[in-house]
């Protein structure tokens, strides 16, 4: 079986890799590129732990082939902080204790960032619907939503 050569931009850096045709983007990120922030929760698009953006669009990286990413721009949780400086969402997740085991957290942060880029002033209901595809079995979601709403407010003030 011949491997497929893919050229992408990941978190701003041009990245090339070889992958098997049936390999998911999630497997490529984790196993070939060492970007282990995206998690495999279910592998079937139900839990959102593998969320990344592809050409600005929020997707489950487990529901996409690595080969499909040729020519596209991907952002992952690894691209969220600027060096040591946390993104406001990351900071607010810490302040609100919006995580316990942490498996869902990278996906929720990526999804929440995508929400705030599209809608800087979401209502709580809009935030809950947007994040409905990100499952968390620890927090009961309230702290996550509080952190997202607080970060949104801070980001609005800063802009």
């Amino acid at each position: 079986m011949s491997q497929i050569h893919v050229t992408t931009k990941i978190n701003g850096d041009t990245t090339e890799y070889l992958c098997d045709p049936e390999e998911t983007l999630l497997d490529v990120l984790r196993d070939r590129l060492g970007l282990t922030g995206a998690k495999e929760g279910c592998g079937t698009g139900d839990c959102g732990a593998c969320s990344v953006t592809v050409d600005g669009r929020l997707v489950c990286s487990c529901l996409m082939l690595g080969a499909e990413a040729d020519g596209s721009e991907i952002t992952t949780i690894e691209g969220m902080a600027e060096g040591e400086k946390l993104h406001p969402l990351q900071q607010k997740f810490l302040e609100h204790a919006a995580l316990q085991c942490g498996i869902c957290t990278p996906g929720i942060l990526v999804a929440a960032k995508s929400l705030l880029e599209k809608n800087p002033s979401p209502t709580e209901e809009e935030a809950r619907y947007w994040l409905a595809g990100n499952l968390c079995r620890c927090t009961g979601y309230d702290k996550i939503i509080r952190a997202v709403m607080d970060a949104a407010e801070e980001m609005r003030r800063a802009s």
Binding site: P21, G45, R57
Partner: protein, 285 residues
């Protein structure tokens, strides 16, 4: 498995026609990758159609709208003119899955996955959607309701694939709507789904209607008796009662963990009424 990315419809058809083993189309992949992961399908060939011209575009044509086979639900929801023209089809598509799934899932894929509970399909059937199919013998346009033939099976022959879905032009004073029942508010599979599209004349009398029912039979149902209950009326309470009775009468559901036969049959009537009222309001505005 071989992964191919053709750039023309003809080369995609040639790849699919020449496949010796099982072949699958990849657009959004939100069904295909789940099936591959679970081992339900192990394709020898996957043909990614996203680089073919027109697959990612929404274009106006003869007063209607042509939606490429790889257009995502999110792209449909962001298209203001399409949302204005066919709000029921767009709202049905947007009910499918999460934000992440919306980023990839497609109207054509929802149809070709041939699930009896597919949300967008009753809305497409109500809209009178025509599906463009390319194959070894050229291109043909067929009604959406003729694509699924049984759960998981379509009428497409070897070498054929859907290139776009066309929502035809309709007169002013038309409206459509889709409603489904699920036991929670989001991220679930329809227990019953109903799409209604109708047109009024200047006096407010219904001159045309189509009703599609999902999740109450092995395939989507186009219910002509339900449409007939509306045509010629002002869509008043008496007409809505007849519509509900006709929708319930058409149901041939199964009992399963998501709903009983009696429940699905009753709810089909209730939702048909409610969807018709929304379609009516949209037609009047």
């Amino acid at each position: 498995m071989i992964y191919e990315v053709p750039e023309t419809v003809d080369s995609a058809v040639a790849l699919l026609s020449g496949a010796t083993g099982s072949a699958r189309i990849l657009a959004g992949g939100t069904d295909l990758l789940v099936q591959m992961k679970s081992g339900v399908v192990e394709p020898d060939l996957v043909v990614d159609i996203k680089r073919i011209d027109g697959m990612k575009s929404i274009t106006q044509e003869d007063g209607g709208w042509r939606i490429g086979a790889a257009v995502s639900g999110a792209e449909m929801g962001e298209h203001e003119a399409l949302c204005g023209a066919w709000p029921g089809v767009v709202e049905a598509m947007e009910l499918i899955g999460s934000t992440q799934v919306q980023g990839r899932a497609t109207l054509a894929g929802n149809l070709c996955n041939a699930s009896p509970a597919a949300d967008s399909v009753p809305a497409m059937v109500a809209a009178g959607a025509l599906v463009r199919v390319a194959g070894p013998d050229g291109v043909r346009d067929i009604p959406a309701e003729d694509i699924p033939v049984s759960p998981g099976k379509t009428s497409l022959a070897k070498g054929e694939f859907v290139t776009s879905v066309f929502l035809p032009a309709r007169p002013a004073k038309s409206g459509d709507a889709y409603l489904r029942f699920i036991p929670r508010t989001e991220m679930d599979i329809a227990v019953v789904g109903v799409g209604v599209s109708l047109t009024l004349d200047e006096a407010g009398t219904c001159t045309a209607a189509r009703v599609g029912l999902g999740a109450v039979a092995a395939t989507v149902l186009l219910v002509e008796d339900a449409a007939a209950a509306l045509i010629g009326t002002k869509v008043d309470d008496a007409a809505l009662d007849k519509l509900a009775a006709a929708a319930s009468a058409a149901c041939k559901p199964i009992d399963d963990k998501r709903g009983t036969i009696a429940f699905r049959t009753h709810v089909a009537g209730v939702l048909a009424k409610r969807a018709a009222k929304i379609a009516l309001t949209r037609a009047q505005s």
